[in-house]
């Protein structure tokens, strides 16, 4: 049994290399679509999460603790559950059904953006809060305006915020539930890496599934490696 498993994983590794080297059009298409969908979802989520993170960490207001706890709690939201809730919203008989987003890449982008918002907000709040308060005060005493202070703080917290963004992207790339429920795993339209892996596993094509998993992992590892390099350069 162990030998069989090892040989299957090795075979998957060989297939993965083969598929990558030969530029298999279907694998390439699915990989590019995954990158596009999760990349766009990350950009979208950044556009509202980072300002939100700045607001939560720099402002004092009632309910700040509760809000932070809320985002922390949502970190582990099950993707199938979120997928189902958003499906009910985007379904033709749901409140946003007339937009016809269901079963398009746009639906997955929206879903993944929502999914990773708690990661981006929570991680960037802790990054910004760990910037020494002196910098804030210094900037303020130097007569900086509010937006200038935010900018200065953000620049100091850049590394932590960047980590948050990468973590968000990885989560989006590796999640299955949202892509399956909102995209429907339609060949040539909404099929991404994770939904392909699920389908090929169900179809019994284990080597292909392992090959796709290896491609997915390579992307994640490369990104983390790049971030680590940057980090080392800074310190």
């Amino acid at each position: 049994m162990v030998r069989k498993m090892t040989s299957e994983i090795l075979e998957g590794l060989r297939r993965a290399l083969e598929l990558i080297v030969s530029g298999d059009p279907e694998v390439l298409e699915v990989t590019l679509r995954s990158l596009y969908v999760s990349g766009t979802a990350t950009l979208l989520a950044v556009s509202w999460s980072i300002p939100m993170g700045l607001l939560i960490s720099l402002k004092n207001f009632r309910g700040k603790r509760i809000l932070k706890g809320f985002f922390n709690a949502l970190l582990g939201i099950p993707t199938v559950g979120l997928g189902l809730i958003l499906y009910l919203f985007l379904s033709r008989s749901g409140p946003f059904g007339s937009l016809h987003f269901l079963y398009t890449p746009t639906a997955i982008i929206l879903g993944q953006a929502v999914l990773i918002t708690p990661i981006l907000v929570s991680f960037s709040v802790s990054a910004i809060e760990s910037v020494e308060p002196e910098i804030r005060d210094l900037a303020k005493t130097l007569g900086a305006s509010e937006s200038e202070v935010s900018f200065a703080v953000l620049r100091e917290a850049l590394q932590g915020v960047l980590l948050a963004v990468i973590a968000g992207f990885n989560r989006a790339l590796a999640e299955l539930g949202v892509a399956l429920m909102l995209g429907g795993n339609i060949a040539g339209l909404t099929r991404v890496l994770t939904t392909s892996i699920a389908l090929e596993t169900a179809r019994g094509n284990f080597e292909l599934s392992i090959a796709l998993t290896i491609i997915l992992l390579s992307i994640v590892f490369t990104l983390n490696f790049a971030v680590n390099l940057l980090k080392r350069e800074r310190t």
Partner: protein, 335 residues
């Protein structure tokens, strides 16, 4: 400390980040335009909600290819369980369903959601188990085989694995247990009765590991067996009670707004055309040495094959493939 780095260094880094962000935005804008042109190019579409046992064999990919060569319609298959497929259709998220659970289909019609049901194909479930067959069910009929399994299971000698996921196959299993005089709901509480709660492929793997018996669809079983992933053998097969019938039903546009009824009818007509029926009959036949699915349309029309009586008994409603009140304006489908 980084903040004491030269100002140039920091500026360069910020420039780098701005560059990366611009690049990423461009890439995502390009992707968005690409998908918008695909979606907006005005080709009409048809969303088919279907069951995994059909989709996972690859049959529907072959049908899609043939259909799209003939008609300017993009077919999208959403592969889920029968229960979920019907729920999708009721919510207006599918134009057509392709399923295998006659009782749910009848309900779908009588609730006004479905029109123009056609039976397109059939095959047989199998009861599979370990090669040495500890419960000695090989060659028995379904009810005596299940009785033997219960007896031996209660004696702690064998195990049974159930999908337990309300799929078409699971619904069939529940019906077979009732036929044998048991209730699935009470059986599942017993020690030897295992619920996998997952798809056919994984359930076969679990059964293989546990050397258990189970009900399986023939397509998934053959694929796993051919590839050497399981050693289980089909022990009861080709029994009338194991009949599995696949039908297609269009979603009623008057009950569910926004569905594409015209394309649905074109698709149904294609499925029962001799071209598509031949494709179904020959699909992977050489690879597995037997058909995964048998075409039903011409069989039902001719009515000579004894299997027709089995299909009528199992999957007809009051002697009709589709009662006339659900024909809409398409009596030609039933001539």
């Amino acid at each position: 400390m980084p903040k004491h780095n030269g100002g140039h260094e920091v500026n360069r880094k910020i420039l780098l980040w701005i560059g990366i962000i611009i690049l990423a935005s461009l890439a995502s804008a390009a992707g968005t335009t690409y998908y918008f042109t695909i979606i907006m190019r005005g080709k009409s579409t048809l969303v088919v909600a279907t069951t995994t046992s059909l989709y996972d064999t690859g049959l529907l990919d072959a049908i899609e290819k043939k259909f799209e060569e003939k008609y300017p319609i993009d077919v999208y298959f959403i592969s889920v369980g029968t229960g979920q497929a019907i729920e999708h259709a009721k919510r207006g998220d599918a134009d057509v369903i392709l399923v295998h659970a006659p009782s749910s289909e009848l309900q779908f019609l009588t609730e006004g959601y479905g029109l123009c049901r056609k039976i397109i194909a059939y095959n047989f479930f199998i009861i599979a188990g370990p090669e040495n067959d500890p419960a000695s069910i090989r060659g028995l009929n379904v009810t005596s085989a299940l009785n033997r399994i219960v007896e031996m299971g209660r004696a702690g000698k064998v195990k049974w694995i159930s999908r337990g996921d309300e799929s078409g196959t699971h619904k069939k299993e529940q019906a077979l247990w009732s036929l044998a005089g048991y209730s699935w709901v009470t059986l599942k509480e017993e020690e030897w009765f295992v619920e996998s709660g997952t798809g056919m492929g994984k359930t076969l793997l679990i059964a293989n590991e546990m050397e258990a018996y189970l009900l399986a669809d023939i397509g998934t079983y053959l694929r796993y067996y051919k590839e050497g992933k399981i050693n289980l053998k089909p022990l009861v097969k080709q029994d009338k009670d194991l009949l599995n019938v696949y039908s297609v039903i269009a979603v009623n546009p008057e009950k569910v707004g926004g569905v594409n009824f015209n394309n649905a009818i074109i698709f149904i007509k294609f499925l029962i055309s001799s071209e598509c029926q031949n494709l179904i009959a020959n699909f992977k036949r050489n690879e597995y040495g037997q058909s995964l699915f048998y075409p039903a349309a011409s069989l039902l029309k001719e009515g000579t094959n004894p299997i027709v009586e089995w299909i009528k008994e199992y999957a007809f409603f009051n002697g009709e493939e589709c009662p006339p009140e659900y024909w809409d304006d398409h009596p030609e489908l039933y001539q």
